[in-house]
Amino acid sequence: MTDKFTLPITKENGYFEIRLESIGGLGANLCGKMLGELGALYLKLNSTSFSSYGSEKRGSPVKSHIRWCAPEKFLRLCTPVVEPNVLGIFHEALLKNYPLLSDCTEHTCILLNTNLSREEAAETYHIPHGRLFCIPALDIAIAEKSRVNMVMLGAITAILGFVPLEMAEELCKNTVGKKYPHLIEANLNGLRRGFEHVKEQRPLICSDGISEKNVKPDTNTHTIPDTTFPLNTKNPIASSTSYTWGYKNAPIGGINPRIGSTVSNDLSASREGYIPLFIKDRCINCGLCDSTCPDFVFQFMPGIYKEKECMVNMGPDYTHCKGCLRCVEVCPTNALVMALEKDYPEKPFDRPNKNLLTNQFSYTKHGPDASITGESYLTEQQIHGGVI
């Protein structure tokens, strides 16, 4: 690009904004940084980018914010992007638990990584507003031995319309080439396939969805259960989250008298496609699983084993199992084996925490839907040689 480039579209405030929604490990952070660089160094605009994390844990939701404006305009905003021009969703399972689309306007271009068609996706996820593009980014990434983030970057480039593919290629070469020169070609192919796939598409205009009020992310309000990432209002779980602590009713000093309240977290989304499957007949109640489990899931109760009174393993509490499979490794009798989660929608021997006083409460889900996360995330990990 030689001459001064002018952004063909901006929002009312003069900025062009992109937000990426992903889970840790899919490279959205790098993609955001690359888009920031694209703005600053290639388009010679003013540009900023930053990420926000729910947690450092693998598989946790990650947001990346990118903001561009004309070079003569000082880039003044450092707040998260709301009502983005382009919304890139790296993992469709996020849509089940988080209201990612709540601030979309009719102008928002939504890029969704999915194998569904645009029509199917619009219906499945109740896309309220916006111009929907879909791309099977994971399949393309696997085919090209690239990464989801490069495919998504190519697709976003196509959606933008004002960035030539060659420029994105140059960016990819400079970013990947710095550390992993041998991976340039595969990643370029991923980028190109992403670009081509979306270039052919006409967006599906979504407008008949439920119109939700635009919500500004508010990090000050603590809701019990925790809503750092507010739940989708369509999700029935969300309806009971009405108790919040504020300065009038929170115990002073941040003191927390609600003992063991993390038990109301549902961490099944941390699993990456596999569960430890419990086969009770084989269990000798040795307690090794309980000694290696970081998530305290095994429910041992007094009982009878081989005609002797002892502590008996009644099964794992899958709500809190993060699927690390430590227990499978240590089990001496194969009473715990690795199994694909999708094969066991109803988990045998699933035992809620034995000490709970009540089951009359709703769990806060953390992360995207586990059964979907898992498999695609694992496949993503299997693509060797990609960049992080």
């Binding site: 009405s242 609600r258 430590r326």
Partner: protein
């Protein structure tokens, strides 16, 4: 104007880049979010041979400041970076630096001060610096972080005062922006000129005494000299800005104003929020024809006298404080402005505290504040962005508090044998241990496969009866107590990791005293401190003090060999050769350069009744030692236990295999299992006699952080580590064979 390149970097990266260009002699630092990236970036550049700065990872911010002070007295150019409680921990050193008049530059990525611990940004740390005699420059953009780092050093050396460059943590420190940097490092260096220290401790031809013992009236004069130096800084700053503009093309001043000439309403705001305010001002001017403007301070110290000139038409002045001076009805920015405007304006001055703990300030928020403040009856002081809370559906009680009886299932029984002077533990079978109720609830946020909860579980299985725990800052506390939830079912307290052992000493002392006076019911409590290896670096002094007083507590260390909570910087327990974000691998560096700390030996040297190492790969041994530690802590004094704790995220290995990785560490003799009971060492497991000994390389090959060491080019380093591990192990065998050693 000098040739410049465009970079796309964050404030932290640019601070590091400026430091690289200046090529400081020494940086003493201690990692603390959000300033850590500065040291990390410099280490990364060092690994690639891009600068010669000697980077010293201290064991705490207080020491880091000491390293910097020492280096600056030796005539070196010195650099530091910190935040929040790190800054407060070092605070005592800052007046020493300024009072003895040695220049240096320290970056402060501003963050809120604990407690309740929060890592996000506000200005509560930097305001503690106002009275330290440091020059304080506040950068509101990444570009400015770069520029002020260069300007700041020149200013520091001109007036012989240290300079702090402050900027908003996360907003300015982490957000990337387009910036200009000098293409040639020499431009920066020639702008600064040669370092000509006024005094140097190393000038052997002119020996000097630094740090005199001084009383009145000399102290008065010494302080007045600092006052005069600040005045000199005020006088010199405009010249300096002009000089810098000549080479950079960028103009700075001690104050920046925006649309203030005719403004009847003026906002005063520090840092990145200044730009947000400008956005709001444009909107109000365009849409509502409000005469409104804003001003920000670049120089907090010296405080610019000309500030009032930016308020020619002001009738309402709104000061936005990102910090509160509790009880003063305003933050320190408000205090400063109000006193400097005394009798100089008739405007109504209002203060609003906003954005604490990193709460975002959207343009809409600024608009709302203005709208509220221009109301004639608006209160002069208020918080913006607080919420009352809402009493909704009753929340359930998830668990009943654990009784002493429930926590005493009799898994282990300890009896002290006076003759052998040993605590005899019976039982402790793993299958029985499942009867111990979980004192920590599931649903905590540890990574899949994390070793910390595993070790806590094994430890707590061995401790019968009531337990009160203290966690020092680290992954263990972050994953369990994220507000508004907590994983603990037993009494828990957190304190910052340089002080946990002392805090628990206080709890224990109070317990004993209350009991002695009959103000506390009968019964016993085991007091347990849980710390990472990081906490045993910065908190070593506190732990040693506790041990030397022989307080009745257990000090438990989960050693995952790094500061994992902040993104894996090296700790003193990190294995030599391991990669970390402050010991990068590069053509100039192979990873961490010094051996892992032998904390059990340090603790054993305090002659406390019980010291032990444990590993989850030997769970029964672990539980028994936990039981012993509890018995010793109740009846004899301090017990210390250390567990090697897996970190799949930063060890870069598979979560499911962690127990075998720990077993390999034990079998390689890197982490021997032994105990020192009343001064007598027992080796609990000898890999050599069990025919299980493996070379250290085998263990290294199991973790991504050390895998590179297996390559031929690092064979010398591995041999070196192997020799040290074998030497330590041989000493241990000798000690286990001789009661006097």
């Amino acid at each position: 104007m000098e040739k410049q390149n465009i970079l796309y970097e964050s404030g932290n990266e640019l601070a590091a880049y400026a430091a690289k260009q200046i090529n400081y002699h020494v940086m003493g630092y201690y990692p603390i979010t959000p300033s850590t990236q500065i040291a990390e970036n410099l280490d990364n550049m060092k690994a690639e041979n891009l600068h010669d700065i000697t980077l010293i990872a201290a064991e705490g911010e207080h020491s880091a400041a000491g390293i910097c002070y020492g280096a600056s007295t030796a005539g070196a150019r010195v650099f530091n970076a910190t935040s929040a409680n790190g800054l407060l921990y070092a605070l005592e050193q800052f007046p020493v630096q300024s009072g003895t008049r040695f220049p240096m530059v320290m970056n402060v990525a501003c963050r809120t001060v604990s407690g309740p611990l929060c890592i996000k940004g506000d200005h509560s740390d930097i305001m503690y610096m106002l009275n330290t005699g440091w020059i304080i420059l506040f950068a509101h953009s990444p570009q400015m972080v770069y520029d002020l780092n260069i300007l700041g050093l020149k200013l520091a050396e001109k007036v012989n005062l240290p300079v702090a460059i402050a900027f908003d943590g996360f907003f300015t420190s982490h957000q990337k922006q387009k910036c200009m940097v000098f293409e040639d490092d020499n431009v920066v260096q020639s702008f600064l000129g040669d370092k000509n220290p006024t005094y140097s401790l190393l000038d052997l031809k002119h020996p000097i005494t630094i740090g005199s013992y001084m009383n009145e009236p000399d102290v008065m004069n010494n302080r007045y000299q600092i006052h005069l130096a600040m005045r000199d800084a005020s006088t010199y700053l405009p010249t300096l800005f002009t000089e810098y503009e000549k080479i950079s093309g960028r103009h700075y001043d001690t104050i920046e104003g925006y649309r203030y000439d005719d403004a009847e309403i003026m906002l005063i705001v520090l840092g990145s929020s200044y730009h947000t305010a400008k956005e709001a001002i444009d909107k109000l001017r365009d849409e509502q024809d409000l005469r409104i403007g804003a001003v920000t301070l670049i120089s907090l110290r010296p405080f610019p006298k000309t500030l009032i000139n930016y308020f020619p038409a002001a009738r309402t002045i709104i000061i936005l404080d990102r910090q509160d001076s509790y009880g003063a009805e305003g933050g320190n920015l408000s205090m400063e402005i109000r006193s400097s405007f005394y009798r100089k304006t008739h405007a109504r001055i209002l203060s609003r505290v906003y954005g604490l703990g990193g709460k975002d300030l959207f343009v809409e928020d600024v608009l709302a504040i203005i709208k509220e403040c221009i109301h004639p009856r608006a209160s002069l002081f208020a918080y913006y962005g607080i919420t009352e809370g809402q009493i909704g559906e009753k929340q359930p009680e998830y668990f009943a508090p654990l009784t002493e009886e429930e926590q005493s299932p009799g898994i282990t029984v300890c009896n002290y044998d006076c003759e052998s002077r040993k605590m005899i533990v019976t039982s402790g079978k793993l299958s029985d241990a499942t009867a111990m109720p979980m004192r920590i609830a599931p649903g905590h946020g540890a990574c899949p496969g994390c070793g910390i909860p595993v070790n806590l579980n094994l430890l707590l299985k061995g401790i019968e009866g009531n337990v009160v725990v203290l966690f020092q800052t680290g992954c263990g506390m972050i994953i369990t107590t994220g507000y508004p939830k907590t994983a603990f079912r037993i009494p828990y307290i957190h304190n910052l990791f340089q002080n946990g052992a002392a805090t628990l000493s206080g709890v224990e002392a109070a317990f004993q005293e209350l009991k002695r006076r009959g103000e506390y019911p009968e019964g016993d409590i085991t007091f347990l401190m849980v710390s990472g290896d990081g906490g045993m670096d910065i908190g070593m002094g506190s732990a040693l003090g506790t041990a030397l007083r022989n307080q009745h507590v257990i000090l438990f260390e989960y050693d995952n060999g790094g500061y994992m909570n902040t993104g894996y910087q090296l700790s003193y327990s990190t294995p030599k050769g391991a990669k970390s974000s402050t010991s990068h691998l590069g053509k100039n560096q192979y990873g961490k350069t010094f051996f892992h700390k032998d904390t059990p030996e340090i603790m054993a040297a305090t002659h406390i009744p019980y010291v032990a190492t444990v590993a989850e790969s030997n769970p029964t041994d672990f539980i028994k030692k936990a039981a012993k530690a509890a018995a010793y802590s109740r009846d004899f004094g301090t017990a210390y236990i250390k567990a090697l704790s897996a970190c799949p995220l930063n060890w870069n290995d598979k979560p499911n295999l962690e127990r075998s990785v720990i077993a390999a560490a034990v079998d390689s003799c890197y982490f021997p299992l032994y105990e020192v009971e009343q001064g007598i060492t027992t080796l609990n497991y000898n890999p050599i006699t069990n025919n299980k000994k493996i070379p250290i390389e085998k263990w290294f090959s199991m973790m991504g952080r050390t895998k590179h060491l297996v390559q031929e080019e690092y064979s010398d380093i591995v041999a070196d580590i192997q020799a040290e591990v074998d030497r330590r192990f041989a000493r241990l065998i000798a000690r286990s064979e001789n009661r006097l050693l």
